[in-house]
Protein backbone atom coordinates (compact mmCIF):
# COMPACT_ATOMS: atom_id res chain seq x y z
CA UNK A 1 0.00 0.00 0.00
CA UNK A 2 2.60 2.59 0.97
CA UNK A 3 4.85 3.35 -1.95
CA UNK A 4 8.49 3.79 -1.28
CA UNK A 5 9.61 6.33 -3.82
CA UNK A 6 12.23 8.58 -2.41
CA UNK A 7 12.20 12.16 -3.53
CA UNK A 8 13.96 15.22 -2.26
CA UNK A 9 11.96 17.01 0.34
CA UNK A 10 11.69 17.38 4.06
CA UNK A 11 10.48 14.63 6.27
CA UNK A 12 8.48 14.33 9.42
CA UNK A 13 10.12 11.91 11.81
CA UNK A 14 7.11 11.35 13.99
CA UNK A 15 5.94 8.34 12.07
CA UNK A 16 9.24 6.99 10.81
CA UNK A 17 12.18 5.40 12.48
CA UNK A 18 15.41 4.87 10.64
CA UNK A 19 17.52 1.91 11.44
CA UNK A 20 20.68 1.28 9.51
CA UNK A 21 22.38 -1.16 11.79
CA UNK A 22 24.23 -3.86 9.97
CA UNK A 23 23.16 -2.68 6.55
CA UNK A 24 25.17 -1.52 3.59
CA UNK A 25 26.47 2.01 3.74
CA UNK A 26 23.97 3.64 1.48
CA UNK A 27 20.91 1.74 2.46
CA UNK A 28 18.49 2.12 5.34
CA UNK A 29 15.62 0.07 6.57
CA UNK A 30 12.50 2.11 7.07
CA UNK A 31 9.99 1.25 9.67
CA UNK A 32 6.65 2.96 9.25
CA UNK A 33 3.97 2.39 11.86
CA UNK A 34 5.68 -0.80 12.88
CA UNK A 35 5.88 -2.27 9.38
CA UNK A 36 9.35 -2.62 8.02
CA UNK A 37 10.31 -2.29 4.38
CA UNK A 38 13.20 -3.88 2.55
CA UNK A 39 16.31 -1.77 2.57
CA UNK A 40 16.42 1.02 0.06
CA UNK A 41 19.24 2.80 -1.65
CA UNK A 42 19.63 6.45 -0.88
CA UNK A 43 20.88 8.76 -3.52
CA UNK A 44 24.35 9.69 -2.39
CA UNK A 45 23.84 13.18 -3.77
CA UNK A 46 20.88 14.04 -1.66
CA UNK A 47 20.47 13.31 2.03
CA UNK A 48 16.99 14.76 2.15
CA UNK A 49 14.18 12.41 1.37
CA UNK A 50 10.44 12.08 1.66
CA UNK A 51 8.40 8.95 1.68
CA UNK A 52 5.23 9.77 -0.21
CA UNK A 53 2.71 7.43 1.27
CA UNK A 54 0.93 7.31 4.61
CA UNK A 55 -1.43 10.12 5.48
CA UNK A 56 -1.01 12.16 8.64
CA UNK A 57 -2.25 10.47 11.81
CA UNK A 58 -4.71 13.34 12.33
CA UNK A 59 -6.32 12.59 8.98
CA UNK A 60 -6.59 8.89 9.80
CA UNK A 61 -8.13 9.75 13.17
CA UNK A 62 -10.66 12.05 11.57
CA UNK A 63 -11.64 9.33 9.08
CA UNK A 64 -11.99 6.83 11.93
CA UNK A 65 -14.31 9.26 13.72
CA UNK A 66 -16.52 9.71 10.68
CA UNK A 67 -16.65 5.96 10.08
CA UNK A 68 -17.51 5.27 13.72
CA UNK A 69 -20.40 7.69 13.61
CA UNK A 70 -21.75 6.47 10.29
CA UNK A 71 -21.63 2.80 11.23
CA UNK A 72 -22.55 3.31 14.90
CA UNK A 73 -19.57 1.22 15.93
CA UNK A 74 -19.53 -0.03 19.52
CA UNK A 75 -16.86 1.66 21.67
CA UNK A 76 -15.10 -1.63 22.31
CA UNK A 77 -14.54 -2.32 18.61
CA UNK A 78 -11.23 -0.91 17.38
CA UNK A 79 -11.18 1.22 14.24
CA UNK A 80 -7.71 1.84 12.81
CA UNK A 81 -6.05 2.61 9.50
CA UNK A 82 -6.14 -1.06 8.60
CA UNK A 83 -9.87 -1.42 9.22
CA UNK A 84 -11.84 -2.43 6.16
CA UNK A 85 -15.18 -0.71 5.74
CA UNK A 86 -16.85 -3.95 4.68
CA UNK A 87 -15.52 -5.77 7.75
CA UNK A 88 -17.00 -3.04 9.94
CA UNK A 89 -20.39 -3.71 8.38
CA UNK A 90 -20.57 -0.89 5.85
CA UNK A 91 -22.91 -1.59 2.97
CA UNK A 92 -23.01 0.45 -0.22
CA UNK A 93 -25.31 3.08 1.25
CA UNK A 94 -23.01 3.48 4.27
CA UNK A 95 -19.99 3.76 1.99
CA UNK A 96 -21.42 6.58 -0.09
CA UNK A 97 -22.51 8.36 3.09
CA UNK A 98 -18.98 8.01 4.45
CA UNK A 99 -17.56 9.44 1.21
CA UNK A 100 -20.04 12.31 1.46
CA UNK A 101 -19.04 12.89 5.09
CA UNK A 102 -15.37 13.00 4.10
CA UNK A 103 -16.10 15.45 1.28
CA UNK A 104 -17.89 17.75 3.71
CA UNK A 105 -15.25 17.47 6.42
CA UNK A 106 -12.25 18.07 4.16
CA UNK A 107 -13.81 20.27 1.49
CA UNK A 108 -12.95 17.89 -1.35
CA UNK A 109 -14.79 16.19 -4.16
CA UNK A 110 -14.35 12.45 -4.64
CA UNK A 111 -15.01 10.94 -8.05
CA UNK A 112 -16.74 7.57 -8.38
CA UNK A 113 -13.60 5.92 -9.77
CA UNK A 114 -11.64 6.91 -6.67
CA UNK A 115 -14.49 6.11 -4.29
CA UNK A 116 -14.62 2.60 -5.66
CA UNK A 117 -10.99 1.97 -4.73
CA UNK A 118 -11.39 2.83 -1.05
CA UNK A 119 -11.44 -0.34 1.01
CA UNK A 120 -9.83 0.72 4.29
CA UNK A 121 -9.66 3.75 6.53
CA UNK A 122 -6.06 4.24 5.38
CA UNK A 123 -7.13 4.27 1.73
CA UNK A 124 -9.63 7.00 2.51
CA UNK A 125 -7.10 9.06 4.46
CA UNK A 126 -4.50 8.78 1.70
CA UNK A 127 -7.02 9.77 -0.94
CA UNK A 128 -8.14 12.75 1.12
CA UNK A 129 -4.60 14.08 1.55
CA UNK A 130 -3.98 13.55 -2.13
CA UNK A 131 -7.07 15.57 -3.04
CA UNK A 132 -6.39 18.27 -0.46
CA UNK A 133 -2.86 18.63 -1.79
CA UNK A 134 -4.10 18.84 -5.37
CA UNK A 135 -6.64 21.41 -4.34
CA UNK A 136 -3.97 23.44 -2.58
CA UNK A 137 -1.68 23.49 -5.56
CA UNK A 138 -4.43 24.23 -8.09
Amino acid sequence: MASSTIAASSISFTSLTLNNKGLAKNSVSLSINGKSFPSLRLQAASRRFRVSCAAKPETVDKVCEIVRKQLAIQPDVAVTGDSKFAALGADSLDTVEIVMGLEEEFGISVEEESAQTIATVQDAADLIENLVEKKGSA
Binding site: Q70, L88, D91, E97, M100, G101
Partner: protein, 308 residues
Protein backbone atom coordinates in the same frame (compact mmCIF):
# COMPACT_ATOMS: atom_id res chain seq x y z
CA UNK B 1 -37.60 -24.86 19.64
CA UNK B 2 -37.72 -27.06 16.58
CA UNK B 3 -34.10 -26.58 15.71
CA UNK B 4 -32.75 -28.17 18.84
CA UNK B 5 -34.45 -31.48 18.08
CA UNK B 6 -32.88 -31.92 14.68
CA UNK B 7 -30.17 -34.45 14.25
CA UNK B 8 -26.94 -33.92 12.32
CA UNK B 9 -28.06 -36.39 9.69
CA UNK B 10 -30.60 -33.85 8.50
CA UNK B 11 -27.91 -31.37 7.64
CA UNK B 12 -26.45 -32.85 4.51
CA UNK B 13 -26.29 -31.26 1.12
CA UNK B 14 -28.61 -33.94 -0.28
CA UNK B 15 -31.31 -32.38 1.81
CA UNK B 16 -31.28 -29.50 -0.62
CA UNK B 17 -34.45 -29.80 -2.64
CA UNK B 18 -33.45 -29.79 -6.32
CA UNK B 19 -34.97 -27.04 -8.41
CA UNK B 20 -35.66 -26.52 -12.06
CA UNK B 21 -33.97 -23.48 -13.50
CA UNK B 22 -36.25 -20.51 -13.96
CA UNK B 23 -37.46 -20.05 -17.53
CA UNK B 24 -36.01 -17.19 -19.56
CA UNK B 25 -38.82 -14.88 -18.46
CA UNK B 26 -38.70 -15.75 -14.80
CA UNK B 27 -36.67 -14.66 -11.84
CA UNK B 28 -36.25 -16.69 -8.69
CA UNK B 29 -35.54 -14.97 -5.40
CA UNK B 30 -34.35 -16.81 -2.31
CA UNK B 31 -33.97 -15.21 1.08
CA UNK B 32 -32.79 -16.09 4.58
CA UNK B 33 -33.57 -14.26 7.77
CA UNK B 34 -30.56 -14.51 10.10
CA UNK B 35 -32.77 -14.47 13.17
CA UNK B 36 -34.36 -17.71 11.94
CA UNK B 37 -31.01 -19.50 11.95
CA UNK B 38 -30.10 -20.24 15.54
CA UNK B 39 -28.45 -23.65 15.51
CA UNK B 40 -24.69 -23.62 16.00
CA UNK B 41 -24.57 -27.03 14.36
CA UNK B 42 -26.30 -25.68 11.29
CA UNK B 43 -24.01 -22.65 11.07
CA UNK B 44 -21.02 -24.97 11.30
CA UNK B 45 -22.45 -27.04 8.47
CA UNK B 46 -22.70 -23.89 6.38
CA UNK B 47 -19.10 -23.09 7.27
CA UNK B 48 -18.05 -26.44 5.83
CA UNK B 49 -19.33 -25.31 2.44
CA UNK B 50 -16.86 -22.46 2.25
CA UNK B 51 -13.34 -22.62 0.88
CA UNK B 52 -10.53 -21.20 2.98
CA UNK B 53 -10.64 -17.74 1.40
CA UNK B 54 -14.35 -17.32 2.08
CA UNK B 55 -13.95 -18.59 5.65
CA UNK B 56 -11.23 -16.02 6.19
CA UNK B 57 -13.50 -13.32 4.87
CA UNK B 58 -16.28 -14.38 7.25
CA UNK B 59 -13.92 -14.29 10.22
CA UNK B 60 -12.51 -10.93 9.20
CA UNK B 61 -15.88 -9.37 9.98
CA UNK B 62 -15.89 -7.48 13.27
CA UNK B 63 -18.64 -8.84 15.46
CA UNK B 64 -20.80 -11.95 15.76
CA UNK B 65 -23.79 -10.61 13.87
CA UNK B 66 -21.66 -9.43 10.95
CA UNK B 67 -19.86 -12.78 10.84
CA UNK B 68 -23.17 -14.64 10.85
CA UNK B 69 -24.49 -12.41 8.07
CA UNK B 70 -21.41 -12.96 5.93
CA UNK B 71 -21.61 -16.72 6.50
CA UNK B 72 -25.28 -16.84 5.59
CA UNK B 73 -24.66 -14.83 2.43
CA UNK B 74 -22.10 -17.36 1.18
CA UNK B 75 -24.17 -20.32 2.33
CA UNK B 76 -27.23 -18.93 0.56
CA UNK B 77 -25.40 -18.38 -2.73
CA UNK B 78 -23.77 -21.81 -2.69
CA UNK B 79 -26.81 -23.79 -1.66
CA UNK B 80 -29.08 -21.89 -4.03
CA UNK B 81 -26.90 -22.49 -7.09
CA UNK B 82 -26.33 -26.11 -6.08
CA UNK B 83 -30.10 -26.73 -6.15
CA UNK B 84 -30.27 -25.99 -9.85
CA UNK B 85 -27.58 -28.43 -10.92
CA UNK B 86 -28.60 -31.36 -13.06
CA UNK B 87 -26.33 -33.70 -11.13
CA UNK B 88 -26.15 -33.36 -7.38
CA UNK B 89 -23.41 -30.89 -6.74
CA UNK B 90 -22.16 -30.13 -3.27
CA UNK B 91 -22.33 -26.45 -2.40
CA UNK B 92 -18.71 -26.90 -1.40
CA UNK B 93 -17.59 -27.69 -4.95
CA UNK B 94 -18.79 -24.48 -6.56
CA UNK B 95 -16.13 -22.04 -7.61
CA UNK B 96 -16.61 -18.35 -8.14
CA UNK B 97 -14.71 -15.65 -9.91
CA UNK B 98 -15.24 -12.01 -10.71
CA UNK B 99 -15.76 -10.45 -14.10
CA UNK B 100 -13.39 -7.67 -15.15
CA UNK B 101 -15.47 -5.12 -13.29
CA UNK B 102 -15.62 -7.16 -10.11
CA UNK B 103 -19.08 -8.70 -10.41
CA UNK B 104 -19.10 -12.22 -8.98
CA UNK B 105 -20.06 -15.12 -11.23
CA UNK B 106 -19.85 -18.92 -11.20
CA UNK B 107 -16.69 -20.42 -12.61
CA UNK B 108 -18.21 -23.49 -14.27
CA UNK B 109 -15.01 -24.95 -15.63
CA UNK B 110 -13.65 -25.48 -12.16
CA UNK B 111 -16.41 -27.85 -11.14
CA UNK B 112 -15.92 -31.54 -11.64
CA UNK B 113 -18.40 -33.00 -14.08
CA UNK B 114 -19.44 -29.51 -15.02
CA UNK B 115 -22.50 -28.51 -16.95
CA UNK B 116 -22.20 -24.93 -18.04
CA UNK B 117 -25.40 -23.19 -17.35
CA UNK B 118 -26.79 -19.94 -18.44
CA UNK B 119 -27.37 -19.19 -14.79
CA UNK B 120 -26.97 -15.66 -13.51
CA UNK B 121 -27.19 -14.66 -9.89
CA UNK B 122 -26.78 -11.65 -7.64
CA UNK B 123 -26.93 -11.27 -3.88
CA UNK B 124 -27.69 -8.49 -1.47
CA UNK B 125 -27.78 -8.38 2.28
CA UNK B 126 -28.80 -6.29 5.20
CA UNK B 127 -28.39 -7.12 8.87
CA UNK B 128 -31.78 -8.79 8.98
CA UNK B 129 -32.19 -10.39 5.57
CA UNK B 130 -29.97 -11.97 2.92
CA UNK B 131 -31.28 -12.52 -0.60
CA UNK B 132 -30.12 -14.20 -3.80
CA UNK B 133 -31.74 -13.68 -7.18
CA UNK B 134 -31.38 -16.19 -10.01
CA UNK B 135 -32.13 -15.89 -13.71
CA UNK B 136 -31.19 -17.73 -16.87
CA UNK B 137 -29.63 -16.16 -19.94
CA UNK B 138 -29.98 -12.62 -18.70
CA UNK B 139 -27.95 -10.69 -16.14
CA UNK B 140 -29.61 -9.77 -12.88
CA UNK B 141 -28.99 -7.28 -10.11
CA UNK B 142 -30.81 -7.13 -6.80
CA UNK B 143 -30.71 -4.81 -3.85
CA UNK B 144 -32.57 -5.03 -0.58
CA UNK B 145 -32.90 -2.46 2.13
CA UNK B 146 -34.71 -2.30 5.44
CA UNK B 147 -37.92 -0.33 5.03
CA UNK B 148 -37.10 1.64 8.15
CA UNK B 149 -33.54 2.51 7.05
CA UNK B 150 -32.59 6.07 7.90
CA UNK B 151 -29.61 7.87 6.47
CA UNK B 152 -27.35 10.28 8.37
CA UNK B 153 -27.57 13.06 5.82
CA UNK B 154 -30.71 14.87 4.79
CA UNK B 155 -32.47 13.21 1.87
CA UNK B 156 -32.24 16.42 -0.06
CA UNK B 157 -28.47 16.84 0.28
CA UNK B 158 -27.84 13.15 -0.38
CA UNK B 159 -29.99 13.19 -3.51
CA UNK B 160 -28.33 16.36 -4.77
CA UNK B 161 -24.94 14.72 -4.37
CA UNK B 162 -25.73 11.35 -5.93
CA UNK B 163 -29.01 11.30 -7.83
CA UNK B 164 -30.03 12.76 -11.17
CA UNK B 165 -31.69 16.14 -11.40
CA UNK B 166 -35.07 14.66 -12.23
CA UNK B 167 -34.89 12.34 -9.25
CA UNK B 168 -33.92 15.23 -6.97
CA UNK B 169 -36.93 17.18 -8.21
CA UNK B 170 -39.25 14.24 -7.65
CA UNK B 171 -38.05 13.65 -4.10
CA UNK B 172 -38.18 17.32 -3.19
CA UNK B 173 -41.78 17.49 -4.39
CA UNK B 174 -42.80 15.14 -1.56
CA UNK B 175 -43.88 17.15 1.47
CA UNK B 176 -44.38 14.32 3.97
CA UNK B 177 -40.90 13.47 5.35
CA UNK B 178 -41.75 9.83 6.03
CA UNK B 179 -43.10 9.23 2.53
CA UNK B 180 -40.09 11.06 1.14
CA UNK B 181 -37.80 8.76 3.10
CA UNK B 182 -39.62 5.67 1.83
CA UNK B 183 -39.47 6.85 -1.77
CA UNK B 184 -35.80 7.61 -1.32
CA UNK B 185 -35.07 4.09 -0.10
CA UNK B 186 -37.07 2.58 -2.95
CA UNK B 187 -35.21 4.70 -5.47
CA UNK B 188 -31.87 3.79 -3.93
CA UNK B 189 -32.57 0.06 -4.17
CA UNK B 190 -33.70 0.41 -7.79
CA UNK B 191 -30.59 2.33 -8.75
CA UNK B 192 -28.34 -0.15 -6.96
CA UNK B 193 -30.09 -3.09 -8.61
CA UNK B 194 -29.60 -1.51 -12.04
CA UNK B 195 -25.88 -0.88 -11.51
CA UNK B 196 -25.41 -4.39 -10.16
CA UNK B 197 -27.29 -5.87 -13.12
CA UNK B 198 -25.07 -3.93 -15.52
CA UNK B 199 -22.10 -5.41 -13.69
CA UNK B 200 -19.77 -2.53 -14.51
CA UNK B 201 -19.19 -1.40 -10.93
CA UNK B 202 -20.25 1.76 -9.16
CA UNK B 203 -18.00 3.95 -11.30
CA UNK B 204 -19.05 2.26 -14.55
CA UNK B 205 -22.55 3.61 -14.18
CA UNK B 206 -22.46 6.62 -11.87
CA UNK B 207 -25.80 7.24 -10.20
CA UNK B 208 -26.04 10.77 -11.55
CA UNK B 209 -25.97 9.59 -15.14
CA UNK B 210 -29.32 7.84 -15.17
CA UNK B 211 -32.86 8.39 -13.93
CA UNK B 212 -35.22 5.69 -12.73
CA UNK B 213 -38.86 6.60 -12.63
CA UNK B 214 -42.27 5.16 -13.11
CA UNK B 215 -43.32 4.87 -16.72
CA UNK B 216 -46.38 6.90 -15.83
CA UNK B 217 -44.37 9.92 -14.75
CA UNK B 218 -43.05 12.10 -17.51
CA UNK B 219 -40.44 14.80 -17.71
CA UNK B 220 -43.12 17.47 -17.43
CA UNK B 221 -45.10 16.11 -14.52
CA UNK B 222 -42.71 15.74 -11.65
CA UNK B 223 -45.26 15.78 -8.89
CA UNK B 224 -46.41 12.66 -7.18
CA UNK B 225 -49.98 11.62 -6.97
CA UNK B 226 -51.14 10.52 -3.55
CA UNK B 227 -49.81 7.02 -3.96
CA UNK B 228 -46.12 6.26 -4.23
CA UNK B 229 -44.38 7.04 -7.46
CA UNK B 230 -43.66 3.44 -8.40
CA UNK B 231 -46.91 1.84 -7.47
CA UNK B 232 -48.83 -0.11 -10.05
CA UNK B 233 -46.71 1.14 -12.86
CA UNK B 234 -43.84 -0.02 -14.95
CA UNK B 235 -40.47 1.21 -13.84
CA UNK B 236 -38.10 2.49 -16.45
CA UNK B 237 -34.56 3.80 -16.62
CA UNK B 238 -33.33 6.65 -18.77
CA UNK B 239 -29.73 7.39 -19.49
CA UNK B 240 -28.61 10.98 -19.26
CA UNK B 241 -25.44 10.21 -21.10
CA UNK B 242 -25.32 8.71 -24.51
CA UNK B 243 -28.28 7.16 -26.15
CA UNK B 244 -26.45 3.96 -27.02
CA UNK B 245 -27.01 2.79 -23.50
CA UNK B 246 -29.87 0.44 -24.40
CA UNK B 247 -31.83 1.41 -21.34
CA UNK B 248 -34.94 -0.10 -22.88
CA UNK B 249 -33.35 -3.51 -22.44
CA UNK B 250 -33.78 -3.49 -18.68
CA UNK B 251 -36.82 -4.34 -16.60
CA UNK B 252 -37.46 -3.69 -12.95
CA UNK B 253 -39.55 -4.98 -10.11
CA UNK B 254 -39.95 -3.54 -6.65
CA UNK B 255 -41.28 -5.66 -3.80
CA UNK B 256 -41.96 -5.44 -0.12
CA UNK B 257 -40.34 -8.53 1.31
CA UNK B 258 -41.16 -10.24 4.61
CA UNK B 259 -42.94 -7.10 5.75
CA UNK B 260 -39.62 -5.54 6.58
CA UNK B 261 -37.64 -4.84 3.41
CA UNK B 262 -37.83 -3.28 0.00
CA UNK B 263 -36.33 -5.51 -2.68
CA UNK B 264 -35.49 -4.17 -6.11
CA UNK B 265 -34.77 -6.55 -8.95
CA UNK B 266 -33.36 -5.54 -12.29
CA UNK B 267 -32.79 -7.94 -15.15
CA UNK B 268 -32.22 -7.65 -18.85
CA UNK B 269 -35.35 -8.32 -20.83
CA UNK B 270 -35.17 -11.57 -22.65
CA UNK B 271 -34.95 -11.18 -26.41
CA UNK B 272 -37.96 -13.48 -26.69
CA UNK B 273 -39.95 -11.06 -24.53
CA UNK B 274 -41.19 -8.91 -27.36
CA UNK B 275 -44.43 -7.92 -25.74
CA UNK B 276 -42.70 -6.34 -22.74
CA UNK B 277 -44.38 -8.56 -20.19
CA UNK B 278 -43.87 -7.81 -16.53
CA UNK B 279 -41.27 -9.81 -14.66
CA UNK B 280 -42.46 -13.14 -13.30
CA UNK B 281 -40.95 -13.69 -9.90
CA UNK B 282 -40.97 -16.75 -7.67
CA UNK B 283 -39.90 -16.09 -4.09
CA UNK B 284 -38.78 -18.60 -1.49
CA UNK B 285 -38.00 -18.05 2.16
CA UNK B 286 -35.38 -20.60 3.11
CA UNK B 287 -33.27 -22.00 5.88
CA UNK B 288 -30.84 -23.92 3.68
CA UNK B 289 -30.78 -27.66 4.42
CA UNK B 290 -33.75 -27.30 6.75
CA UNK B 291 -36.76 -25.80 5.09
CA UNK B 292 -37.95 -23.95 2.02
CA UNK B 293 -41.20 -22.09 1.80
CA UNK B 294 -42.62 -20.73 -1.41
CA UNK B 295 -43.95 -17.33 -0.36
CA UNK B 296 -45.09 -15.70 -3.60
CA UNK B 297 -48.71 -14.75 -3.28
CA UNK B 298 -48.48 -14.46 0.50
CA UNK B 299 -48.04 -11.41 2.71
CA UNK B 300 -44.32 -11.97 2.57
CA UNK B 301 -44.20 -10.69 -0.98
CA UNK B 302 -46.07 -7.53 -1.87
CA UNK B 303 -45.60 -6.05 -5.29
CA UNK B 304 -44.88 -2.35 -5.21
CA UNK B 305 -44.05 -1.60 -8.79
CA UNK B 306 -43.06 -3.03 -12.11
CA UNK B 307 -45.37 -6.00 -11.68
CA UNK B 308 -49.03 -6.38 -12.43
Amino acid sequence: MRMQCLDTKFFTSTSLVPMQLPSRMETHLWYVKPNEVKSEQLLNKYLEFLPKSEKEHVFSMRGDELRKGALLARALVRTTIARYQINQVSPRSLKFRKNIHGKPEVDWQQIEDWHPQQLHFNISHTESLVACGVTTHNPIGIDIEEKERKIKHSISSFAKRYFSQQEVQLLSSISDPEIQRQEFIKLWTLKEAYVKALGRGFSGSPFKTFTIRSAAASKESIHLSESSSFENSDIVVESLEDSTNHTGDWQFALLELAGSHYAAICSRKDCANIGSHPMKIGVWRTIPLVEDEYVSGTNSVIAVGGLM
